[in-house]
């Protein structure tokens, strides 16, 4: 009887292992497909030319070599941008807790260059994360940057005080060290989910041309 139990046990274990392996394979396939689709979209591949809050020119090439979490927003934003930046800061903090992972560079690009100059952004961004880089520029350069990521931007009508809000896509983009967008996170994702996802991408990352 003991022998029969042992054989059954081994068979069950084997079946379970087989099933887990197949499931893992399917997940890998889905992930590859997802990555391929994102790569084909080529978000951000057109590049951009902007300035950081110290007035230093920063382009897409300056981000190469780093993992980047990039968010488009504006400082006069009523609720969405503070919430998304809070989430972004928290995700970066969670990733910082794991010393074995490479650092992630959080980046904010304004969709309201008319009001969001270097000083406005410096004041705004420091409340979310100390390493959060702010980028601004001329209206045209900012438009190009948003277009490179297919971010919808539409400034609303000005009221009698000259105030307005800017309607825009709410997305946080994950760029790998080769500058390729590997994921984008929307309103529904939590800081924990973003951190977990970024970690997953870091672990499966294979540098181009090596």
């Amino acid at each position: 009887l003991r022998q029969r139990l042992a054989i059954s046990g081994a068979l069950v274990a084997l079946a379970a292992a087989g099933w887990l392996h197949l499931r893992q394979q399917k997940q890998n396939q889905q992930r590859s497909k997802h990555l391929r689709q994102l790569r084909e979209l080529g978000l951000g591949s057109a590049g951009f030319e902007l300035r950081d809050t110290s007035g230093r020119p920063r382009g897409k090439r300056d981000l190469l070599g780093s993992w980047v979490l990039l968010y488009f927003g504006f400082t006069h934003c009523p609720d969405v941008c503070p919430e998304e930046l809070e989430k972004l800061g928290e995700a970066v903090r969670l990733l910082e807790e794991r010393s074995e992972l490479p650092p992630v560079l959080p980046v904010f690009i304004t969709v309201d260059p008319e009001r969001d100059d270097e000083e406005a952004m410096r004041k705004y961004l420091r409340e979310f994360h100390p390493r959060l880089v702010g980028l601004t520029g001329s209206a045209e350069r900012v438009r190009e940057a948003a277009a490179a990521f297919r971010v919808y931007v539409s400034a609303g009508p000005r009221d009698e005080l000259g105030d307005y809000v800017v309607d825009h896509s709410v997305l946080t983009f994950l760029l790998d060290p080769d500058g390729i967008c590997r994921e984008c996170y929307g309103r529904a994702s939590t800081a924990q989910e973003v951190a977990r996802s970024v970690r997953g991408h870091m672990e499966s990352y294979e540098p181009l041309g090596e």
């Binding site: 503070p82 000083e119 105030d163």
Partner: protein, 82 residues
């Protein structure tokens, strides 16, 4: 930069707090704005005009969404349409 500076984190939180108090009042008075005038004024005082408009729209949207979830979609009745 043109015009006024963006609200600071503290100012944002004060605005959101005033908004939440106003909305809580509306919730407990069946959206009767007349019963919540004082809180409405406090909300308008604490938030930029553009944000008040934004949050008013958001409340309308949230109510509409809730209605869809509880009552389902009811197409508007249009007289004379087939």
């Amino acid at each position: 930069a043109a015009g006024m500076a963006a609200p600071t984190m503290e100012e944002r939180k004060a605005c959101w707090g005033a908004r939440d108090e106003f909305w809580q009042c509306l919730d407990s008075h069946g959206d009767d704005a007349a019963k919540c005038e004082k809180l409405r004024r406090a909300f308008e005082a604490r938030c930029p005009q553009q944000w008040v408009k934004h949050f008013d729209k958001r409340r309308d949207f949230l109510k509409y969404k809730k209605m869809l979830e509880t009552e389902g979609y009811r197409p508007p009745e249009a007289a004379g349409k087939s």
